[in-house]
Symmetry: D2
Subunit: 136 residues, 4 copies
């Protein structure tokens, strides 16, 4: 199984690295992560860019689904991402907590809650991953 | 009116800058932009990260809505972002082309198509912007 | 406050009545309801029509939001509905259980889980309600 | 190929019949339909129920995808439905006009615009259909 540390090593030079995303736990039905509110995740008004939540949700759902299907010769591919923004965040750390809502043969669905340092809900995401046979 | 060049200057140190997003045209009912496929927008497998499309859609919808409502003392705040991923992209440039589907008093809705250099549809987004009075 | 029984009386000749929707509990942060699997909610293949889940989610979120904002002179209007379909249902009763995820001044967000008689998750919905001043 | 008239015959006693949905054209990349604004599609306030648009979009996408994949031994199953509501409608006819945005091996995506008799946009839907081998 691909370990979180392997993924982290590979992620340094990717979007995850550019935005400072950190994956904490990635079990089969739960995934957690966080990112610090630096300029790299802000939009011009100084609040966290909506795309940062959407991207973090995508990273969380993709990484954990991939880790649990690739042992069977499958890959996980993002199919859709629906993120709603509830409360602006300007500083501190954003905490993501996701749980798997569906595990089908061809798709997994995750829902991720994002909270600020005070535990207030800031954004919610639903991510659908397609599970497909790995290319030869 | 805030000009594209002003926004660009302010965007250098933000998520837009970190991911290399470029806004091209931002009229009242059309918005276009693009980003190059560098490592900063890739996920670990080498394809464009789904969050890059979602974030670019958010940037495009936010910037152009903001530019057209703030003259009336309003701001534009992202409310929801629904992005579907159709085709993986590994290199070249991703081109975004958005049109406004709804202009209400309190919300604007944009739909953005993303294509690769060959003109193939790669992702589609629907972004809902809330329009609110600017804080004092 | 508008009572569930008032809403039910008014609902007999509406979509809710046509599809057999029943509202059970509608508190400020929780809403439950159900509908029997009759032909009126099936599609031609004999399974529950995806639109039945979406419509029931809309009814649940609208009714309970309306009941809790109209005392302040506001109305609740559906803004968006995102429903994912997880498992086909052919008979029995579909049970909806919703909780409020966001209560803002201008929007409320509900997430509703639908299960079959065996408690298996069949569909999930996220509904955004716009809260607006009631027309004079 | 299953004909529209066959589907219509089978639809009389289903949700489509209960809500008065009518399918007009269903080609491989375009689908149109309509429904009259009767009490069966209204919510208690007298406007068209949001679920009616979502359900009609589901019917349109499902029927036309099914018609074009079942010759190859496949079926089409609704996977997700995202509908945004733009303008209330109280009477007349609602007209749906959909176009296919994606045709993959395992999923098709449709976007449907709904207009009133004056041609004003009332709702927009994005429906993702999963294409799967027909059960034996």
């Amino acid at each position: 199984m691909t370990e979180l540390t392997d993924l982290a090593a590979r992620s340094d030079s990717t979007l995850d690295g550019a935005l400072g995303f950190e994956l904490l736990e990635a079990s089969e039905d739960r995934v957690t992560g966080r990112f610090d509110v630096t300029d790299a995740v802000r939009q011009p008004m100084g609040i966290v860019h909506g795309g940062a939540y959407a991207a973090m949700a995508e990273t969380m759902a993709s990484a954990t689904t991939y880790m649990h299907v690739h042992g069977d010769g499958n890959i996980a591919v993002g199919q859709s991402n629906q993120t709603s923004f509830l409360r602006p965040v300007t500083e501190g750390t954003v905490h993501g907590d996701g749980r798997r809502r569906h595990r089908g043969r061809t798709s997994w669905i995750w829902e991720i809650d994002f909270t600020d340092d005070a535990g207030r809900l800031c954004a919610i995401s639903r991510v659908t991953m397609a599970v497909r046979p790995a290319p030869e």
